[in-house]
């Protein structure tokens, strides 16, 4: 592991924040190109229908309308390229969800484009729709998805199993068995900046794309496929991205493809930016889930077996569902040592908006169950809830549920101990009990949750776990760095600058991170799975090592001792230039080998795991059912922390998203229609809803193969937070919730059932 000195761990302020506070950061909708058209999308009003005809003649007669694009105009493959290529870019003969793109209008103004969508006449013939996973799984249910994408047959996109040990034996050894059914609904990303992309026809028949995104190389692949261009002719530039949270993993491939189709047809730049209402209705969300969970434990609390059935509602097309489902499968046991494991996980097609990535990626759907089960075991056995977790958490040398023996960087027990101290668990528990004895109108509750989170893509997609970086010593001694993963608010760019300057031994002010551009760096995979900073930093370290070697050699040639290299950096840089030494290097990184056997589900699932324990205290108004978080403590093991303030920012933001998921965020779905009106009816946490007294700490169980010992953090806080909050509400009510969100109507329902 690299030696860490002053910069690593320091709360260095983020350089990108200056433009942001001045209002000078440029997001995609702030950009314009000469002759640029605006794109509006004609969308399906039906959950499932045949498209009989599309008549664009009236729209084309409108002033300011330049083109109308349908599936017939797609020059390459008519798909939104993600994994299975089952989703058409523009519907061809059939639509499978409300909001599916059918045609595009390109016009000189956004207003004209929107207006003209109403003049595109589309004739439909309704088909039977399946909008519920229970119905979709019934024998005899109509198959509503593209059959080639349904690997599990019928409406089952994917079916995966995990079998370790023998669960019958495990349950035979158990003194207590608890069983529960858990459901979660939609969670909307609600990044403050809506989805948007601009496609710009470039020289020699190539296409440039400027967009808000997490995964420029996904967008490059998708646009190339739809336009029938070689990858080398598609250049993707990430614009300042106003939040993503997984929502800008796969969806920008669709948005950019649609913009590119208009740009290609009209041979003019074309911009597509979604309105908030359109964004919420038509883009991916967290997969709604149904999970059945059975746990066996001995009298001392030791878990002997789990048997889990997971059903995720994938929506109409595959997008990322197979990868999301895999994370549900391999995370189902949580951070616990479980000798006998049986998990069946299915992603199921319905005529609803396709679901995709959301911070946590299939894991909160199993975390709510595994933490509920843990509390119920504690209750049945009369054990303290923190203690029952302590007896089961993974220790170095243990094997995970996928039989992955993990030796290093296993800090879950330390996070548990730290969180218990930060929360003053035992003392707080007695205060809560005393409070409840003296208050008839309000009750308090305490919840604890422990999570494991695999960092990186893991055994399901090992070819994506790599990263590249370029580094160039300029003649004046400044250094240009470029990496293949992106800043989207989380702080990657600051951490990368810290790592680069630390590794080169020069001040941060001398290092500049170039904007993300696919023509500048090799395909380094997506900025997802809490991997972005870790992987890019590894590639930067590799580049810095190579550049340092050259710096040392050139310094020797001109008689500068190694020890003076930092002070005389400019002289050395000048010597590179005068002596014609190559000043550019490339760095490369890949993760440790991972594996996955699809028949058993076993393998070394991820290169490394992050861990966390959260403790939440809530107060529930017993009359209204309103729950409010009054205290919070969070302890994380994400290995070495590169920047403490930024890491704390990730945790504080994750807590807010987690409490939103547990308490207020939901979207009802009726016959394929999402019942929501943008941010007017979607209940995001506001500044009134969050705990401002959260104590956040890091235990830093270093990951030797990580940059300076770090591993990922991005998604982990949300994972731990929602379950801590939900279990705190459960404690306050004395009832076990079976679904999210624990909004006032559901809390009142539970309270009246217990009366």
């Amino acid at each position: 592991m690299e030696k860490r000195t002053t910069l690593i761990g320091a709360s260095v302020p983020r350089p990108d924040a200056v433009d942001k506070v001045r209002g000078e950061a440029r997001y995609v909708d702030d950009l314009a190109f000469p002759g640029m058209l605006h794109v509006a999308v004609v969308r399906s009003p039906h959950p499932h229908a045949k498209v009989l005809s599309i008549d664009a003649s009236k729209a084309l007669g409108e002033p300011d309308v330049v083109c109308v694009v349908t599936h017939r105009d797609v020059p390459g493959a008519n798909v939104v390229h993600v994994i299975y290529d089952d989703q058409p870019a523009l519907a061809d003969g059939v639509v499978r969800y409300i909001g599916e793109p059918v045609a595009l209008v390109g016009a000189v103004s956004r207003r004209a484009a929107r207006k003209a969508t109403l003049e595109v006449r589309v004739e439909y013939e309704a088909l039977p729709a399946v909008t519920d996973t229970r119905r979709a799984l019934e024998s005899g249910a109509p198959v509503i998805c593209v059959p080639a994408a349904a690997e599990g047959g019928g409406n089952v996109f994917n079916r995966m199993v995990l079998v370790k040990g023998d669960v019958d034996t495990g349950f035979g050894q158990a003194d207590v068995v608890v069983e529960g059914e858990y459901e979660t609904g939609y969670q909307e990303h609600a990044y403050l900046e809506p989805q948007g992309a601009i496609a710009v026809p470039d020289e020699a028949g190539s296409m440039a794309v400027y967009a808000s995104m997490q995964c420029p190389f996904y967008v490059q692949g998708a646009v190339a496929k739809a336009l029938g261009l070689p990858l080398a002719k598609v250049r993707v530039v990430q614009t300042t991205t106003g939040g993503a949270f997984g929502g800008k993993e796969d969806v920008p491939s669709q948005i950019a493809t649609l913009a590119a189709l208009v740009a290609w047809t009209a041979r003019r730049p074309a911009k597509l930016v979604l309105d908030r209402g359109e964004d919420v209705l038509t883009t991916s969300k967290r997969h709604p889930s149904r999970v059945h969970y059975r746990t066996g434990a001995k009298a001392d609390g030791t878990i002997t077996a789990i048997d889990v059935d997971v059903v995720l509602d994938a929506g109409a097309y595959q997008t990322l569902s197979s990868a999301v489902l895999w994370r549900s499968l391999v995370t189902a046991a949580g951070p616990y040592r479980v000798p006998n494991v049986h998990v069946v996980a299915r992603s199921v097609a319905t005529n609803t908006v396709p679901n995709g990535a959301f911070r946590g990626f299939g894991s909160p759907q199993v975390i709510f169950p595994h933490e509920s089960q843990m509390d119920r075991i504690a209750e049945r056995l009369g054990l303290d809830r923190a203690e029952v977790r302590r007896r089961n958490v993974l220790r170095p040398g243990d094997r995970t549920s996928t039989d992955h023996r993990i030796e290093e960087s296993v800090g879950i027990a330390e996070t548990l101990d730290r969180a218990v101290v930060l929360a003053d668990w035992a003392e707080r528990l007695s205060r809560v009990e005393a409070f409840n004895k003296t208050h008839a109108d309000r009750h308090r509750g305490l919840g604890i949750s422990c999570v494991l989170y695999g960092v990186g893509l893991g055994g399901k997609a090992p070819s994506l776990d790599k990263a590249g970086a370029t580094m160039k010593l300029e003649a004046d001694g400044s250094v240009t760095v470029a990496v293949g993963t992106v800043e989207m608010g989380q702080g990657l760019s600051t951490a990368i600058l810290q790592v680069a300057s630390e590794a080169l031994g020069i001040p941060m002010e001398r290092v500049h991170l170039a904007p993300m551009d696919t023509s500048r760096v090799p395909d380094g995979g997506p900025t997802v799975a809490s991997r972005g900073t870790m992987m890019a930093a590894l590639a930067v370290l590799d580049a810095a090592r190579k550049l340092r070697e050259r710096v040392v050699a050139v310094a020797r040639e001109v008689g500068i001792p190694d020890a003076a290299a930092a002070e005389r950096w400019s002289e050395i840089a000048r010597a590179f230039w005068t002596r014609n030494v190559d000043p550019a290097v490339e760095g490369w990184a890949k993760t440790e080998p991972v594996s996955w056997d699809p028949t058993t589900g076993l393998g070394d699932a991820y290169p490394v795991y992050a861990f966390a324990t959260h403790v939440a205290e809530v107060e529930v108004d017993l009359a209204t059912g309103e729950a409010h978080v009054v205290d919070f403590a969070a302890a994380h093991d994400s290995g070495t922390i590169l920047n403490r303030a930024l890491a704390a920012g990730q945790v504080e933001g994750g807590i807010a998203q987690g409490l939103g998921f547990a308490l207020s965020e939901s979207i009802p779905q009726k016959e394929g229609r999402l019942v929501v009106n943008g941010l007017t009816t979607y209940r995001l946490p506001t500044i009134r809803d969050v705990p401002l007294n959260a104590r956040v700490d890091f235990v830093e169980a270093a990951f030797p193969a990580g940059p300076f010992g770090m591993k990922g953090i991005g998604e982990v806080p949300l994972m731990a937070a929602h379950a801590a909050v939900a279990r705190a509400v459960a404690h306050a009510m004395g009832r076990d919730p079976a679904r999210y969100p624990l909004d006032p109507p559901y809390v009142r329902e539970l309270l009246s059932a217990s009366a």
């Binding site: 709360s11 302020p13 983020r14 990108d16 924040a17 200056v18 433009d19 942001k20 506070v21 001045r22 209002g23 000078e24 950061a25 440029r26 997001y27 909708d29 702030d30 207003r111 990303h189 609600a190 990044y191 403050l192 900046e193 809506p194 300042t240 991205t241 106003g242 939040g243 993503a244 949270f245 309105d275 908030r276 209402g277 989207m488 608010g489 989380q490 702080g491 303030a645 930024l646 704390a648 920012g649 504080e652 933001g653 994750g654 807590i655 807010a656 998203q657 009106n677 943008g678 941010l679 007017t680 995001l684 506001t686 500044i687 009134r688 969050v690 401002l692 959260a694």
Partner: protein, 158 residues
């Protein structure tokens, strides 16, 4: 299209506007793209500007109603290179992540501190409760407003 005369950040501008245009649309067309559109329905506060010194959602104000009134956008807050103390405090406290809510949040804080130089935590919460942030959990933003308030008070006293 009609012409409107607006006073934006102290400068008089004549801008074209359709009858139904909101102040948000007109400001962005006039190049003030620091004013962000997050929802267009008054729910998120990203388009907050000051109209005669009071914070409003520019997406809920008809552009024509802003004539003859002083409009302050985020671009008008700093004095050249010198940031306003609120902007400084947002940097120092790490209150910025993706930055999309930042201009609106900063201007809501500006409105608050211009009326109330010593706000309580509850008053800060109240003042920026119309500004949604999905990244930060609001913790560092509250601290930033508190820090700005302290600095502005001591600046005035000194």
């Amino acid at each position: 299209m009609t012409s409107l005369e607006l006073t934006i950040n102290g400068a008089r501008r004549v801008v074209d506007a359709n009858p139904g245009d909101t102040l948000l649309e007109v400001l962005r067309r006039a190049g003030h793209v620091g004013v962000k559109k997050g929802c267009g329905s008054g729910d998120c506060g990203a388009c907050t500007v000051l109209l005669d010194g009071r914070a409003v959602n520019a997406c809920l104000v008809l552009a024509a109603k802003a004539e003859k009134r002083a409009i302050l956008t985020i671009e008008g807050l700093a004095n050249g290179d010198a940031l306003h103390p609120i902007q400084e405090a947002f940097l120092d406290e790490g209150a910025v992540q993706c930055g999309y809510c930042t201009p609106g949040m900063v201007l809501s804080a500006y409105d608050l501190l211009s009326r109330n130089p010593t706000p309580s935590e509850g008053e800060i919460r109240e003042a920026i409760s119309g500004n949604l942030c999905r990244c930060t959990g609001y913790v560092k933003q509250i601290r930033a407003v508190q820090t700005a308030a302290e600095r502005m008070r001591s600046g005035r006293n000194g």
